[in-house]
Assembly symmetry: C2
Homo-oligomer: 250 residues x 2
Amino acid sequence: MPIKLKKISTNAPAKLDKEKTALKTAKMLAELDDLQNLLFAEGKHALLIVLQGMDASGKDGAISNVFGKLNPQGVTVKSFKVPTKEELSHDFLWRIHATAPAKGMIQVFNRSHYEDILVTRVHKWCDDKTAKKRMSAINDFEKLLTEHGNTHILKFYLHISPEEQQQRLQERTHDPKKMWKYNENDLAEAKLWKTYMKMYEACFAACNKIPWHIIPADQNWYKEYLITNHVFNLLKGLNMKYPTLPPASK
Amino acid sequence: MPIKLKKISTNAPAKLDKEKTALKTAKMLAELDDLQNLLFAEGKHALLIVLQGMDASGKDGAISNVFGKLNPQGVTVKSFKVPTKEELSHDFLWRIHATAPAKGMIQVFNRSHYEDILVTRVHKWCDDKTAKKRMSAINDFEKLLTEHGNTHILKFYLHISPEEQQQRLQERTHDPKKMWKYNENDLAEAKLWKTYMKMYEACFAACNKIPWHIIPADQNWYKEYLITNHVFNLLKGLNMKYPTLPPASK
């Protein structure tokens, strides 16, 4: 069934206790630290985290509060900005593929190849026909990473309400610790909310061979719990083992 | 119709005059030099040359005698050797994609991603099921470069006879200028000729969306003529134009 963002709450369930949930997250993160070490030591699987969401949806916070708790030797973050001239002289997946994770590594994409069918479509830099071809190329590319790079891909959409976004953008205009994130385009972009939602839904529908996880993100503690939980369950399910010494060394 | 290498001559047509053909090649190469400059200046198209062939089939000679005549600022060569540990920690196309040509450039692959369904299959490092998946991934990848990178791909198989190969490998054992190319594995590999031919034919059949050009290569002058001709016709057909100055500068 296609994902309809309007029908999905951006809030944590009312009954859920914030403190208890945060404690669960902390416990999982401690175990995740071990699992990530195992991933690194075994070197058989790669993990790619795709983080998408509107401005101020909490991508940076998720990175620092979840992935920031793990050993940075095995976890890298790539933030995708406006493509450089060199990047534009290649196909749109060239710069993405170059930073795909090696086996043993967790790579976090802060924004990703999906921007090539999101912001570009909202602003009509990319027509529908090109978008359709890009979606097909993205599916092929994710299949390549999965089948030939033993890469597990977790795709998260941080789902906030437009009201929550407005509040967070306002904070950037007067909180001295947040002003550096202020961008004069943010308010203009926010007005395109409905178009963004439409383009997001189109990309969830077309690129769903690897499922999207819609993360209610108006409360950071709930968002962090959900992301941690997905990563934890995935790594736990890999049944990884520490390599032992070769027979001769025993 | 599937390509059957045994049914294709490795020789130049008997009637063809060597000197006249070489003259034609030289003339085309002079024009090609201009066309490559135009490709570089216009910066809209990329050209990828895939050179495959058995040991001693003349890949290095084709590179030096055809592409070596062009401006090296716009022509690069990538020789693919046994993958490094870092390369092996990614999907097999990771190192290939990284060296795909930018718009305006000619990139020559001396061996290529096809080795991942050739040498690997001959030595049974890659089973049939994996090979099939790789073929599908290669088709997707070449489509990506073509559709999204505006890359034109010319795939050449340098077709020599096993007798010609033997003679060339022998030369490496006593010609002081060729000894550096001698590899003690070459003779063992040559014994696997039939298996190689089978695997080449399988890859021509599975990855033919972009056609393979089978180049009779027992005579270098004929091989160089054919390759030059293919590249020349392709670039000529692009109807490229030098960019003019923007109106304000005129």
